[in-house]
Symmetry: D2
Subunit: 364 residues, 4 copies
């Protein structure tokens, strides 16, 4: 099993890069949720390919057709299926890949796992294209979270060796997040963003690619969401985040930075603010013991460089059972970090909503 | 829900630090697995408290009593319950903690989540003591993996600012891992280990604590274990790893280091070795597209410093709804990294076994 | 949650009677399963409406469009989405039903559960039309079971007060089952079948409807499939069977008939036949302790009469919060038992396949 | 997997008839539930063996020791482990059963499923003794349901050929259910109950056993609990009921009786009563479309005769791979129906509570 996630709201994704359609069935959505279809389309557009020189030339409108579970402008409470037709496919570009395994890609591992039966065209089911249904699901989740006043936002923290500042873990303003959400290249400091984009274009010109780090934050999340152990916020969310292709690291609050801290430095002292318990610092990123503590929620995600590069690379031919070389042709992203931003946000929003519904079961 | 994990083999943990017993029900274990009880006891001893100046003075034998599912030396295939009686409890030490929330701990988040009904003695269900059932489960998993020739090992990579070398991602010898497994302080370079231990004792003397990083490796894992998306090796394993108290970061292969790499640097080129497809480098840590690729499997985990420190800290009194201070008394670990080593190994072993059983369903 | 079922292979159904499409995502299908699309179409045709005077006049081709997970004639092992476009909809017929609750239908219970947001057109998500994705799933399962030599078949045991003989619990021939599979009205004794059909047409002429019983059998199922307690064959299968609209009773082997038997009568004595342990009788219907025992597997399912009848019935108007009457117009089945036959078979086949894959995990 | 059940509250049972202990871990219990331990003990006593001539001579106090998740008289919200020590074991009685398979029992099916490694003593994990943890879980559920005013009760409807009246599906009084709950032999008509008990003793004297039917009812259940398809009330509850050893049939409302009804007879007409929608009849047993409709909830369960009888029966010797005979010695129940009454109630209460918590997620 690979395609179903969630405890209280479940998403079942399907599709291949060059199949008829990709999509998702969302099971367990509460009834009566009004969906703003323009806002959904805007989220889809943030991820869609073919927008500029930074991303693949493949053009997909990524228009979502809702098949079920949505009636008279509201969710019905029954399974909602959303479908995106694949249109701009150049299947011929990829036919060689049934034989020659692309380094850094899932080709070989997938060949073994699926016993040679997987659809290899354009990466098939492994394609980053499958993140489109995730973005749709997250767009629904964002609208649900908005009813509770919860906002999820994110920025590109790092591209290769170029970094901008982290979010202030004590919080950023709603307006700053809203502005980030509208940017084509989601950074707080546009001057740094320019350098990052130059770095991406440089990689492209060198037939290479670059990786990076995305940082997401959730504001106004109440305390008491999550659980210790297997359903901790970190467990559930890292599960979802590592489902996004190319993610290789996840950390919460100070994350790996905790290793160098002492307890006296790392412990977030508590005090009352307007009758509510708050922390004076936020090293823990809003989660202690697997449960939200009322502080801003902070997570960072490492994205590896796109494995598809046009340079000649050493690899194997399965057919000839021999070493060979491969120069990947086709349309590829020199960097997927900027396109992964709405995907990471979507996954964060979905998982937090799921955990919020979990907590509702115990409300008096 | 918080206490159940696994797809094909499920563990359901229970217990509180100062309750009658802690334990686990393992559901779905294959029948006919011979369990070496001495090896299990040895794993339990690696985690057990009260062994030296580096850890809490609480003494627990952590003797496991198997209640079911084990007959004539073999697993039966029916649920196996393992129980560990709590013995050395000083409940009086902790009674103040129902009121004063310990900074960096789950106290406040847990109070909200459990509506004030949680057992606060010694951290209750949030206690690191609950990792004992995980170690038991992992000890069973290790014996199962051994039948496939798979070995899991780990070392302390970093304590505060002191680091040793990473594992060679192309592999370490079985003997090295076996030796690490027997060490009281699991480092490859004992001279560095000495410095790490001094750093821990220094923190102790300063009424402080330190964090660190653990690196685990799995050898001889076949290609084709895992799946893309929600059941990826990284998704399942990070889910389990973030269930371990104090874990705040998880990365696979080069992890966050990928952010600085280009595709040309990061892609692991492939070649044939003795008729098998292998990679020339192992930046991906043995997993591509969520599926094992036949290379050594590498994961690193960040552990935050123990929040329990004897220094006075600023916090809140829930009873008085006012700010106050707290100096935690009781017996605590100045560092839990060294005790977390068998826990991380256990979780890795359990999850890899679970995924291995998943793959068996498709065997011809 | 309502739309996802299965342990090792999961189906996630979606759709409403008058929505754009209905369908299913199958997650966990083994790769390399060759699908005979003509055989699938034949199963779909067995259930499809509009075939004769016994069923609703609504005409739907129920042509399945596979969207994913199927490549070059084989399953890929990644999620397979199957979609059926709704075509022959008369939505105007049903608009009154948002107000007047149809007796015996889910209208009122669904209105409360979904807080008034459910799609009421043609019963919406509650429609028997949602059994089409089940039949598709079962058709895939049947082809998978055929690889193990396992056959599932069924017949109409009872329509109103007219009954035919039960299957011989010691087994029927493969040929008999194959013949039943091709019949438009699935009975062993066509003379009894004629009377049943007359009884259905009589009910139709009286603006009434009738219920019945379907009996299914699975042949050549190996011993050792299933488990005691919560994953027993009976637990898993009854779960799936009661998911089929209108099913109100499920029994295995002698079922409710066991109540009148003594142990001496009911116990199935054992003996060796060609080196295999077999039973001399089969009161238990092939399952003891929740596990298959190598005898034919027998289950019976009670189907209630179609609640939609054209007679005037007493009911309530939600809008006016008052009692009223209702004469349902539209196109309805005077009996759904004959159309439910392939649905019940599908559900049996799917669940047995799921349990078979479960057992594979423990194969040496 | 076999031992875990539930969507929102999960029970993980463990144990064998002659192991150290049997028990259950309950995960997901809401915090703050006050548990009346005397009421729990009373439920345990209803099921306990050794009470009179109708049941096995094995004496077990079935005293429950709660290990965790319960603090200061309230559930904590963390996993609650309940443990029952096995005491009165005559293991010698059973040793022959590793070889000779008892007809009607799980012995042979279990031998195949567990590859010969199952604990055969006293039926091992298959033993009806494992229903004790179910009764404990149900006792907790009953106390939770009581907070919503929901009551679950049941009676013995049939023993062999002796029957009493069914519950009035339009409802029985709370007092009647409360009285039934206290009866040693749970029938409404004690004169019929006397005959049933005579029938059981007659079977005992003839070295035989008898089966029967139990009918359960839940009162004051609100409308809107459950879902169509896979999480229907009938699906979830039948899943749980068929987990109880010896259950071979389950029906809701008129159940198999629906087969003989017409729609005009079976449809429950609706009307307003005190501003609430109610049905004029209750053929559907309180569930339409898988969702409760506010009418009393009615379910019946067929229990097969105890397979353990002292008569000589034909069977096989696995060791000699030959036919043989067996006369079961040991202590057995000539009828388990009366002891199954609290088990069925427990399972009904648990499942309804689980579905009630599911519905809470969508509360505004």
């Amino acid at each position: 099993m690979s395609g179903i996630f969630g405890m209280n709201i479940k998403m079942a994704i399907y599709g291949e890069s060059h199949g008829k359609s990709i999509g998702v069935v969302l099971d367990g959505l509460p009834p009566g949720l009004s969906l703003d279809e323009a806002a959904i389309a805007a989220e889809m557009a943030r991820r869609a390919p073919g927008q500029n020189a930074l991303s693949t030339a493949r053009k997909e409108s990524d228009m979502v057709e809702i098949q079920s579970g949505f009636f008279n402008g509201f969710t019905t409470g029954t399974p909602l299926c959303a479908r995106i037709v694949n249109s701009d496919q150049h299947s011929k570009d990829y036919s060689i890949l049934a034989d020659k395994m692309r380094p850094g890609h899932a080709d070989y591992a997938g060949h073994v796992r699926y016993q040679g039966f997987n659809d290899y065209r354009g990466g098939g089911h492994f394609s980053g294209r499958l993140t489109a249904p995730l973005v749709f699901s997250g767009a629904v989740a964002k609208q649900a979270l908005a009813q509770y006043g919860i906002i999820v936002g994110s920025h590109i923290l790092q591209i290769n060796d170029i970094k901008e500042e982290r979010f202030n873990p004590m919080g950023v303003s709603d307006a700053e997040l809203a502005e980030l959400n509208t940017k084509k290249f989601a950074v707080m400091d546009d001057a740094v963003g320019e350098k990052m984009q130059e770095r991406i274009l440089q990689a492209k010109s060198e037939l290479n690619s670059v990786g990076g780090v995305i940082e997401a934050i959730a504001l106004h999340l109440p305390a008491g969401i999550g659980a210790p152990y297997f359903d901790s916020v970190e467990s559930m969310l890292s599960h979802a985040l590592f489902s996004v292709p190319a993610v290789k690291g996840v950390e919460f609050g100070d994350g790996f930075g905790f290793a160098r801290l002492t307890g006296a430095e790392a412990n977030d002292a508590l005090h009352y603010v307007d009758g509510k318990v708050k922390a004076l610092t936020n090293h823990n990123g809003g989660v202690t013991g697997g449960i939200t503590n009322g502080m801003p929620f902070v997570v960072r995600v490492a994205i590896k460089p796109t494995p598809s590069i046009a340079r000649e690379q050493q690899t194997v031919s399965l057919k000839e059972q021999a070493d060979t070389t491969l120069a990947i042709v086709g349309r590829h992203d020199p960097c997927i970090v900027q396109r992964a931003v709405p995907v990471i946000e979507a996954v964060v929003a979905w998982t937090l909503w799921d955990l919020l519904l979990e907590a509702k079961k115990w409300e008096k």
